[in-house]
């Protein structure tokens, strides 16, 4: 057993503060991973230009894990002991974020997951919090519930259909809580269809959904498939309000399926008109020539959270930073983040509802809800 | 000189299969190579055809260096009927014969030769559209021979053409060899049936462990006691 007995000593920063990052630079998640690492490098450069943290320069050690969970563990073993990082940001999947737990617990280095939404990223099966795992994103239940609440309450829709990716936990989680909330409030799920990651054809599922005649179609997955779904729905003449989660917003979504998505909604963390968001967007655009993905925003916030913890901790030591992370509070670009010491999840983050109109994501309102258990 | 082989060497990894072989074939003659198993006869034929690479030596065709690639060598008119037949099992008998005439453009000539092959081997005509892979051993041998004839070669390299043939057909094969010879073609014949080979050939070479150990007019070798002992067997009829 590699469980710490007296607790690990952790890593202490030397001349520079090393920050590890694990994410996909290759493999089928590379779009998202690349955006994270770009964002972080940009932030590190910016911080260094401003004199670093506590007078020390920062250094980012980015490691690719191809989106393969077990490689995340090997990478974490290296970052924590060979590169002596004081914290790890990433990785961009729940599987990878869970897999590195033994390494961060053995060496006492906190890991802040960007988009690992599975509850088990930060707590064990029996609900105990994992001391060195954190995240800055929503966990599944919340977004799903928000979407259901908004559809029922605000849009006044009663018959919903869901199409989801059954091979990824993000999509399954959203579906589960959307369904629970919507039914709890009095709505009806008239159709629930699934596909698997890598599929590109959804027409048959959509044909079945069309037969069920819903008022709203919930699409809790990422923009590539969302765009294909929207276009194919158009192909078979299914005209219905569509709604999704934070997997939607992307420049690519608009390129691929703007026309098919007019008037549809998604739940997000941020309002794109917000000055902080707009600034970051512009900065990123200038540096890399394309718009950032959602992961960029979350990497941004993970960086801010880490910075706050480093400032709060007495020494730049990873175990102390982990302690500090438990109570950190920052205004991120995805909203206000207060870490919950009992779950290591951000709490109090508002959800924003955005609508696609023309070329824009139009902010509708902030919306929060207490999800049903 | 139609074919002039000088100091030919072939290696298979560590095995030295041909060791400085010198052989000459005059236009319009039948030359036969005899030798026991593993002597290097097939290797020699394959080296001429370009399917095994020589590690040394030269092969001249009409005084000029012979091409190196099998298909170019066929283009020069040197065609092999390979040992173990190597027919196209997945093609029909007719397609196999058509493959023999692959490089030919003279449609009339092809049609005539096809007719000739079918007269020589009526069995092939019967089995025209059967997949060659399901032919009996001897039928495959007939097909290989027929396919070789379809290419209308200048120099025909025959590697054990009577292999697996019934006695009657062995006779037929040697009659065919004589017919081709009379048409003015040149033949290099490798045969185990040394009696018949020496009977039909003008000249002969004896290959032993990759070396030419004896050469001369076929009739003279046939009468040589050492040859009789080693290759013709002590006859017991």
């Amino acid at each position: 057993g590699e469980k710490p007995a007296a607790g690990p000593k952790g890593n202490t920063a030397g001349d520079t503060i090393k920050i590890g990052w694990i994410g996909s630079l290759t493999g089928d998640q590379a779009v998202w991973g690349t955006c994270e690492s770009n964002t972080l490098q940009m932030l590190v450069d910016e911080a260094n230009a401003a004199g670093g943290w506590k007078g020390k320069q920062l250094e980012l050690v980015p490691l690719d894990y191809r989106g393969i969970a077990e490689e995340s563990l090997t990478a974490a073993r290296r970052l924590t002991t060979q590169d002596n990082v004081i914290a790890i940001i990433g990785p961009n999947t729940s599987g990878g974020s869970i897999a590195l737990t033994p390494a961060v617990e053995t060496s006492g280095v906190p890991a802040i997951s960007t988009v690992g939404t599975n509850p088990l990223v930060t707590v064990t099966e029996d609900g105990a919090v994992k001391p060195f795992n954190f995240r800055v994103c929503f966990i599944d239940p919340y977004q799903g519930a928000v979407a259901a609440g908004y559809a029922y309450d605000v849009l006044g829709l009663r018959k919903a259909a869901v199409l989801y990716d059954q091979s990824i936990d993000y999509s399954k989680g959203l579906t589960e809580f959307f369904e629970k909330q919507f039914v709890h409030m009095g709505g009806e799920i008239v159709a629930k269809e699934a596909f698997n990651a890598g599929d590109t054809e959804f027409k048959t599922q959509l044909t079945k959904i069309k037969e069920a005649d819903p008022q709203i179609l919930f699409l809790p997955y990422f923009f590539k498939e969302v765009a294909l779904t929207a276009n194919q729905a158009e192909d078979i003449g299914l005209n219905v309000v569509m709604m999704g989660g934070d997997g939607w917003p992307s420049e690519q979504l608009m390129k691929m399926a703007k026309d098919s998505l007019q008037g549809d909604y998604f739940v997000n963390h941020l309002d794109y008109k917000d000055p902080a968001v707009a600034d970051f967007n512009k900065q990123y655009m200038d540096a890399f020539g394309i718009a950032p993905e959602l992961n960029g925003y979350l990497a941004y916030d993970a960086f801010l959270v880490l910075k706050a913890a480093v400032e709060k901790a007495e020494n730049i030591n990873s175990v102390e930073i982990a302690k500090a992370l438990e109570t950190v509070e920052v205004q991120g670009i995805t909203g206000f983040i207060r870490m919950d010491a009992a779950t290591h999840n951000p709490v109090g983050k508002d959800a924003a509802i955005l609508k696609i109109e023309g070329d824009e994501y139009v902010f509708q309102q902030k919306y929060s809800i207490v999800p049903v258990e | 000189m139609m074919l002039q082989i000088k100091n030919l060497n072939v290696h298979y990894g560590g095995i030295h299969a041909l060791r400085g072989v010198d052989i000459e074939v005059e236009r319009g003659e039948i030359v036969t190579i005899i030798g026991s198993n593993g002597a290097g006869k097939s290797t020699l034929i394959n080296a001429i055809s370009g399917v095994v690479k020589a590690s040394g030596g030269t092969i001249l065709h009409d005084g000029k260096e012979l091409a190196k690639k099998p298909n170019l060598i066929v283009k020069e008119g040197i065609v092999q009927v390979p040992e173990g037949r190597l027919i196209f099992a997945n093609l029909t008998v007719a397609d196999n014969l058509a493959m023999g005439a692959y490089l030919r453009k003279d449609h009339d000539g092809i049609a005539k030769d096809l007719e000739k092959v079918y007269t020589l081997f009526p069995r092939l005509l019967e089995r025209k559209s059967q997949l060659a892979g399901t032919l009996s051993g001897g039928e495959q041998q007939m097909l290989a021979m027929g396919r070789g004839l379809m290419s209308d070669p200048e120099l025909l390299l025959l590697d054990e053409p009577s292999l697996g043939l019934a006695p009657l057909l062995v006779n037929t094969i040697f009659e065919i060899i004589e017919t081709i010879y009379k048409m003015g073609k040149t033949i290099l014949l490798v045969e185990q049936n040394a009696y018949k080979a020496l009977a039909v050939a003008n000249r002969a070479y004896v290959l032993e462990q990759g070396r030419v150990v004896m050469e001369g007019p076929a009739a003279q070798l046939a009468g040589d006691p050492t040859i009789q002992e080693a290759y013709l067997g002590k006859r017991t009829t």
């Binding site: 630079l25 089928d28 590109t200 027409k203 003449g237 691929m256 | 066929v74 196209f88 058509a98 493959m99």
Partner: protein
């Protein structure tokens, strides 16, 4: 559920089947000659999608010209791959397994080459038709689906004609069986292999562009060819009509499973059915048993 629903689902099945078919033809062509599963085919399809995208986006070529460019480009790429990764093996008479590994290496190489150079981002073709589908009563048929089906059928017809009826086709078949023997007939094996890989690559090019138009382009789209391989096996390896029939059938089975049973099990059912088809017909639907004579 009613008849229109059934017909709509059937059409969806044929549509997705024609995507698989287009990919399967090139794969099956190479299989029929070289007797090995060219797992780099998916990579070449991916490159085809990129070539089509850039010739449209950068040079503003019309769609037919983009397809031609992709055919040409992919043909050359396939030939290059053959030269670099397979030809040296052929020279040493390596068994088919080695080709497969070399092909896998190639496919890893191609995917990551694009990630490292162009980047992992998605690329979207401009829409080809403003109206995406033709509607007949309550049934909708995608125009792009129709185009793909027509292209698969036409290319099948041309390839079958080439292989079965022409002299070079005969040489291709002969070379497929025994390279050495066919070179002893005067066939230049390099020419044959050039033609086969060139055609296989060109087919990958068409498939890539149409795939890109229909969906989206990114470095991992080659993965989808796994389904095409399954389709080809369904139909019988090495048989071109088999590849198309098998692929379309696979598409129909998938959507039917999804429509009348459960979309959760769609892929599972497809794979389980694959195994059962093989148990009943060990050489696929159109394949011939290759048991040789003793």
């Amino acid at each position: 559920m009613n008849v229109t629903f059934f017909i709509q689902v059937l059409i969806n099945g044929i549509a997705i089947g024609s995507v698989y078919a287009l990919m399967a033809v090139g794969y099956s062509l190479v299989y029929s000659i070289m007797s090995f599963s060219n797992f780099a085919h998916g990579g070449v399809i991916m490159l085809g999608a990129y070539i089509g995208y850039y010739s449209g986006a950068l040079f503003g070529l019309p769609i037919w010209a983009a397809i031609l460019a992709a055919m040409l480009g992919c043909g050359l790429i396939a030939i290059t791959i053959e030269r670099a990764a397979y030809n040296p093996l052929r020279k040493r008479n390596a068994p088919p397994l080695y080709y497969i590994i070399s092909a896998m290496g190639t496919s890893i190489l191609l995917e990551n080459l694009i990630v490292a150079t162009i980047g992992p981002n998605f690329k979207t073709y401009p829409p080809l038709f403003t109206e995406r589908s033709i509607e007949i009563g309550k049934i909708a048929i995608g125009k792009l689906d129709l185009l793909m089906l027509v292209i698969s059928a036409v290319s099948l017809f041309l390839l079958v004609f080439l292989i079965d009826k022409t002299k070079i086709g005969m040489a291709i078949r002969a070379t497929a069986y025994n390279l050495r023997a066919s070179s002893l007939m005067g066939v230049n094996p390099d020419t044959v292999i050039f033609i086969v890989f060139g055609l296989g690559g060109a087919m990958a090019g068409v498939a890539g562009v149409l795939f890109g138009m229909r969906y989206v382009v990114y470095p991992q789209i080659g993965i989808i060819t796994n389904k095409a391989f399954v389709g080809a096996v369904f139909g019988g390896l090495g048989s071109l009509p088999g590849a198309i029939i098998g692929s379309v059938l696979l598409g129909i089975i998938e959507v039917m499973a999804s429509a009348y049973w459960s979309s959760n099990l769609q892929n599972l059912i497809a794979f389980v059915l694959l195994i059962f088809v093989l148990i009943v017909r060990p050489s696929g639907i159109m394949g011939v048993s290759t048991e040789d004579k003793a």
